[in-house]
């Protein structure tokens, strides 16, 4: 999908190897599994739980220039929606080359309506979005 997806936990790479080999749900996983046993990277992104030594369910999108553009953190017991991650990633790609535009909440993929903020749009987002 045009991005390097890296899954990261505070396990060692040996544990990750064992898990990937054992768990049938992971048989098709192609992403590199990053090992952060010291918690250094997890701390950098604010997802390291000092009490448990585990990383919360954080998702971060970093541009090719190295800028953090999206940040989402769920507590332990909630899984993530991959469709929303893909939506954010595609919106980033669009906005990287259309810097004057904005992708509203309903924007899903290339070709969907974007907004260009202007004085005329103030208080008239509905009309601009619906084309009325």
């Amino acid at each position: 999908m045009g991005a390097e997806v890296i899954t990261v936990s505070t396990d060692t790479k040996f544990v990750q190897l064992a898990w990937q080999r054992e768990e049938k749900m992971l048989k098709d996983v192609k992403y590199p599994m990053g090992a952060d046993p010291t918690g250094e990277l997890s701390r950098m992104f604010g997802v390291y739980d000092e009490k448990t030594g585990l990383a919360l369910r954080g998702t971060f999108i970093i541009s090719p220039e190295g800028k953090l553009l999206n940040s989402e953190v769920n507590f332990y017991n909630m899984g993530r929606n991959i469709d929303e991650l893909m939506r954010k990633f595609k919106a980033n790609l669009h906005l990287a080359t259309h810097t004057e535009e904005g992708c509203p909440s309903k924007w899903k993929e290339e070709g969907d309506k974007t907004l260009i903020p202007s004085p005329q749009m103030v208080g008239k987002v509905y009309e601009a979005y619906e084309g009325k």
């Binding site: 390097e4 890296i6 192609k30 599994m33 190295g66």
Partner: protein
């Protein structure tokens, strides 16, 4: 659960300092290494997907 679990990390808009990770590469069945420096040099977007522990759901 009123206790704060984590120290504040990077905020959106900030530059991410270089980092390096040991990896297991399922496609190669081998260990590897990945760094933000290399990803930036390759002009790649990076998505970091943290999860609490192996042998749990994502």
């Amino acid at each position: 659960m009123n206790e704060i679990c984590c120290e504040l990390g990077l905020q959106v808009g900030q530059g991410v300092p270089n980092f390096k990770l040991d990896t297991f590469e399922p496609t190669k069945g081998d260990f590897g290494e990945i760094s933000l420096e290399t990803l930036k040099a390759d002009k790649k977007w990076t998505i970091l997907f943290f999860y609490p522990a192996a042998f749990t759901f994502v």
